[in-house]
């Protein structure tokens, strides 16, 4: 578990002829130990950029990001980050089992077969352990990717629209399953999404970002107790929050 402190972070990209475009502006955000934060925003608002900065895939232009007081790149080099992308990013020539075990190989540690089996079971893929990604449905691939993100018991879990490419029904089922996985452990998590439902259903706190340059315009503490069931989406309060957030996104 970890505490993430994002202080005054901005990110700009150089364009041709010395011009630059500002993608993120003055982001301040603290994710407490064991907290699940969802970043909600319209496409192109820089929310994925922020996630990439936390994953040390890109560098901040100004400001700082610290995880338990350390640079994110250090966390990454110690194999303490877990990540799942929108397009699953499984290695197509490996089986589900080998893909879920891949982080062990990257870290140069012996593969813990029992843990890999447990994670595959948790992701509901026990019957598909030997299947290759091309033989799975989109939803199954995403579950495998999330299982892989959990392999090394990461300090910090990053989810980059993990269900963004799925249809609404599958997506809802995935959200339930993901929350099931989170009931087993508390894990500091940062998720990027453009789905209001998903953010409210999964997160402890929802941050709403504006369009470019991305700024945090509102923070909402989600009041629903855990474990959340699908019924909670039918609560009057859920609808009110959904309307409120949707309105913010449209501005």
């Amino acid at each position: 578990m970890a505490k993430v402190e994002i202080r005054g972070v901005s990110k700009s990209y150089a364009l041709n002829r010395g011009d630059s475009v500002l993608a993120l502006k003055g982001i301040d955000l603290t994710i407490e130990d064991g907290e699940f934060v969802a970043l909600l925003g319209p496409s192109g608002c820089g929310k994925s950029t922020l996630l990439h900065l936390v994953a040390a895939l890109e560098e901040v232009t100004t400001g700082s990001i610290l995880v338990d007081g350390e640079a994110p790149s250090l966390l990454r080099d110690q194999h303490r980050l877990g990540i799942a992308f929108q397009d699953s990013a499984l290695l197509p020539w490996l089986s589900v089992k080998a893909n879920v075990g891949l982080p062990y190989k990257i870290a140069g540690r012996p593969v813990d077969r029992a843990r890999v089996r447990h994670l595959i079971h948790l992701a509901g893929l026990a019957a598909f352990a030997e299947a290759r990604p091309s033989q799975l449905s989109g939803g199954m691939r995403q579950r495998a990717a999330i299982a892989r993100a959990l392999t090394l018991e990461p300090t910090l879990l990053l989810l980059d629209e993990p269900f963004g490419a799925l249809d609404a029904v599958t997506r809802r089922r995935m959200n339930l399953e993901l929350q099931q996985i989170f009931l087993e452990r508390t894990l500091t998590t940062l998720m990027v999404t453009h789905s209001v439902d998903e953010a409210l259903f999964l997160a402890d706190r929802v941050m709403v970002m504006s369009g470019r340059p991305g700024e945090i315009v509102e923070t909402i503490a989600v009041p629903f107790p855990r474990p959340r069931r699908i019924d909670c989406m039918r609560l009057e309060q859920f609808h009110q929050l959904t309307d409120h957030l949707t309105l913010l996104l449209e501005h």
Binding site: H52, A55, A56, L57, R76, D77, Q78, H79, R80, L81, G82, I83, F85, D87, A89, L91, P92, W93, L102, P103, K105, I106, A107, G108, R132, P133, S134, L152, L158
Partner: protein, 247 residues
């Protein structure tokens, strides 16, 4: 499926029959032998032994060149991958080597190395470029998403190479190998023309000068069959691997 095979065989037989008639009639001149006379060459023990010996020499030289060129091309591409500053220079070197027609290097190799080794060397040079280009581009073919995933899990250069970029380059390597087989045969035969002691290239050259038309055609046909067989084997391997490595 079965029908298609039957049609294909029938078409081949029809072409052979037409060729036989054309050559027999003499309308195509003296230099076009009948298929029957070419076939007879293969059945004649003296010629069969000569062709076998020569084919073995040509194949050995081509195989040596293929292995050496493929190894060198792969290693050079790996160096370019692992030491990025060297890449532009190595790219230019490979292109320069390829820009020189291999045939003009023949005489240099004959004098510099030996008549025996020139066929394998010419084969190796053509193969080197093809494999270098195939592996170098294959090592860069993995999607940025996969690279970002590996990096986030803490992969360094070696892990990226071993678990992502090397497997990603396999299909491209096999495509390169496929064209390399034909290139190695060409290199080997051209190399023989500069005066190697034996080989199908020598047989083709000598029979042309001695007007032994059926033997010349038999040798040319043998080269074609060997190249096609190599190409077919590499193509099958490529298809098999492509299925495994596709997403």
């Amino acid at each position: 499926m079965k029908k298609r095979v039957v049609y294909a065989v029938l078409a081949q037989l029809a072409i052979l029959a037409a060729w036989q008639l054309l050559a027999r009639s003499g309308a195509a001149g003296l230099t076009v032998p009948t298929p029957a006379s070419v076939l007879k060459v293969y059945l004649e023990p003296r010629f069969a032994a000569l062709l076998y010996r020569s084919a073995l020499a040509t194949l050995t030289a081509a195989a040596k060149g293929l292995v050496a060129g493929a190894l060198l091309g792969t290693v050079t591409a790996l160096v370019a991958y692992l030491v990025p500053p060297l890449r532009p220079g190595l790219d230019r070197l490979a292109v320069t080597i390829n820009a020189i027609p291999a045939i003009v290097l023949g005489p240099i190799f004959i004098l510099l190395v030996s008549r025996e080794l020139t066929p394998a060397l010419l084969a190796a040079i053509s193969v080197f470029f093809l494999i270098y280009v195939a592996v170098a581009s294959g090592l860069r073919s993995a999607s940025g998403r996969l690279g970002a995933m590996m990096t986030t899990f803490g992969a360094g250069r070696w892990q990226l190479l071993r678990y992502l970029d090397l497997p990603s380059s396999v299909p491209s390597f096999l495509s390169g190998l496929k064209v390399s087989i034909t290139a190695a045969m060409i290199g080997s035969i051209v190399g023989e023309w500069f005066g190697a002691p034996t080989g199908l290239g020598i047989v083709i050259l000598n029979t042309m000068q001695n007007f032994e038309i059926p033997l010349m055609w038999a040798a040319v046909l043998l080269v074609a069959v060997i190249s096609l067989a190599g190409y077919g084997a590499a193509h099958a391997a490529e298809r098999f691997v492509a299925r495994r490595f596709s997403r």
